[in-house]
């Protein structure tokens, strides 16, 4: 069985109301990087909520790691469009937040405080935030906040990372920097990743597979394999093969928006 599996899933936020996504089925293998793209209103964020267990499906089944999702799980890490760091905590304390919630870290908290702190410091160093551990979120730039937020999503070593347009609010150069960061993090220690985005270049650059959704209600209209070789340098974005993928996806979405 695939690591993440959707079986004919529909979700209506109000019972009997309009469905945000309708009859969605797909599978994601363990340690795959999958992107979900589509115009606004196609239920991308709804998909995130279903996988992470924040919302139950109205119809159909969602499985993560061979178990039906009935509520939030500790094996999922999430990063959102806004960094959502807690302003009263330092960067280090923010990153360590999941360790205070998720087992087995939670019960080790008292005894292994030093180990946990070392883990967080190492991860922060890995994303280029060494020296910012004791700064408060408002002292960091938007890009740095988002790096810290990614650290927080990864600190408890989740088997599934959900990325909900985490680079959407950043400027173009910072965004590309963070693409490379995400790529390196994933390549050094693979985990299953689902990236929701409306940036087609981002999707093609990072993912093995791109799922295209149509708006109102959200349905899957294409499932495209991105067979570009890894490791992928940033220059890849200017190659013909890359442009072809982006162009094909753009056409799909153009159709979806018109219909």
């Amino acid at each position: 069985m695939a690591f993440v599996q959707f079986e004919n899933v529909s979700l209506a936020y109000q019972p009997g109301g309009q469905t945000a996504i309708e009859n969605v089925s797909f599978k994601v293998d363990e340690n795959a990087f999958v992107a979900v793209v589509g115009p606004s209103g196609c239920g991308k964020s709804t998909l995130m909520k279903l996988v992470s267990g924040l919302k139950p499906a109205s119809e159909g089944y969602v499985y993560v790691g061979n178990r039906e999702v009935t509520g939030p799980l500790g094996i999922v890490g999430m990063a959102f469009q806004q960094a959502n760091l807690l302003p009263w905590r330092t960067t280090l304390q923010n990153v360590m937040l999941p360790l205070e919630i998720v087992e087995p870290f939670r019960s080790q908290q008292k005894r292994q405080r030093c180990e946990h702190e070392a883990m967080a410091r190492a991860l922060l160093a890995k994303v280029g935030l060494a020296g910012c551990e004791d700064k408060f979120p408002w002292e960091l730039s938007g890009g740095m906040q988002q790096r810290a937020s990614i650290c927080r999503a990864l600190i408890h070593k989740p088997r599934l990372l959900m990325l909900d347009e985490p680079f959407g609010a950043l400027d173009a150069f910072t965004r590309e920097e963070l693409w490379c960061l995400m790529r390196d993090l994933w390549q050094s220690e693979p985990f299953t990743a689902i990236l929701v985005t409306h940036d087609l270049r981002e999707a093609v650059f990072l993912a093995d597979r791109v799922i295209v959704m149509s708006p109102k209600p959200g349905r899957i209209i294409d499932d495209r394999l991105v067979d570009l070789p890894r490791p992928r340098p940033l220059e890849l974005c200017y190659s013909e093969a890359f442009a072809e993928h982006v162009h094909a996806l753009r056409c799909q979405i153009g159709h979806a928006r018109q219909s």
């Binding site: 009263w88 919630i101 998720v102 408002w138 927080r152």
Partner: protein, 255 residues
């Protein structure tokens, strides 16, 4: 004088200016002392009756702080309950608003019947008048929690108690401390009201007995002492607010 010094000295300068106008008005219009004593007369009355004033001020301060402490405990608990439960909110709010609209001075005679004259009615009045802002602020702080912040924790499988402890309460702290500043001044109002109506101790009682002998200078001295205590307590909680919730006041000159 450099501008920063003027800003820092501004409260004192304004106070001195108002005292000057007051003094001038009293001498120029030849207002008799039993109607409006001049600042100097108030000062002398205060110095003459220094010991009794201190004794009564201590009583007022202690009853105020007692009532205020009760208000903090009850306000926090009730505020948390109202803030996290829509049901409790629906049930409690109309009652609390209605209760808060009752003039507390009208309630003092009831307290006297129940507890007799003295300290206890003053403590209870201070509590009754000062707990409402704490409830409202704590409840507002909790119920305006951004769903995004909540989702960060929920997606990790955090329980409602975890969310309350890790996110909702820390985020509501600035609201809580802001309400303490309002509450402490209200608590003084409550205890002094109760003292004027039903006590034989406290600044309120001192003022009542002074006014019954037409000693207006002493009445005003009592008012000044209450005001001074209020300012000191306000400043104390303002400092506490700065200390505990500095993250919420970055780069601003908080009131």
């Amino acid at each position: 004088m450099p501008p920063s010094l003027i800003i820092r000295a501004a409260p004192v300068l304004l106070l001195l200016a108002l005292l000057g106008v007051w003094h001038l008005a009293c001498t120029a219009l030849a207002i008799p002392d039993f109607l409006l004593p001049s600042p100097m007369a108030v000062w002398h009355a205060g110095v003459d009756a220094f010991d009794p004033i201190m004794m009564h001020a201590q009583q007022t301060l202690l009853t105020t702080l007692g009532g205020f402490a009760l208000a903090v405990i009850v306000g926090l608990l009730l505020g948390i309950a109202v803030g996290i439960s829509p049901l409790i909110y629906r049930a409690c709010y109309p009652l609390m608003v209605g209760f808060n609209s009752i003039p507390k001075v009208a309630f003092v005679p009831v307290l006297v019947v129940w507890f007799g004259i003295g300290t206890i009615p003053a403590i209870i009045t201070a509590f009754l008048i000062s707990f409402f802002p704490i409830v409202v602020n704590v409840a507002t702080g909790l119920s305006t929690l951004e769903p995004e912040l909540e989702d960060v924790l929920r997606s990790l499988g955090a329980s409602r108690f975890d969310i309350l402890r890790k996110v909702a309460i820390p985020r509501a702290l600035p609201y809580f401390f802001a309400s303490l500043k309002v509450s402490i001044t209200l608590a003084f109002v409550g205890s002094v009201i109760a003292e004027t109506v039903a006590s034989n101790l406290g600044i309120g009682y001192l003022m009542m007995s002074a006014s019954s002998t037409m000693n207006m200078a002493l009445v005003f001295a009592g008012l000044a002492v209450i005001g001074a205590m209020g300012v000191v307590m306000y400043a104390f909680f303002s400092q506490a607010e700065q200390h505990f919730t500095a993250w919420a006041h970055r780069g601003t000159h908080a009131p």
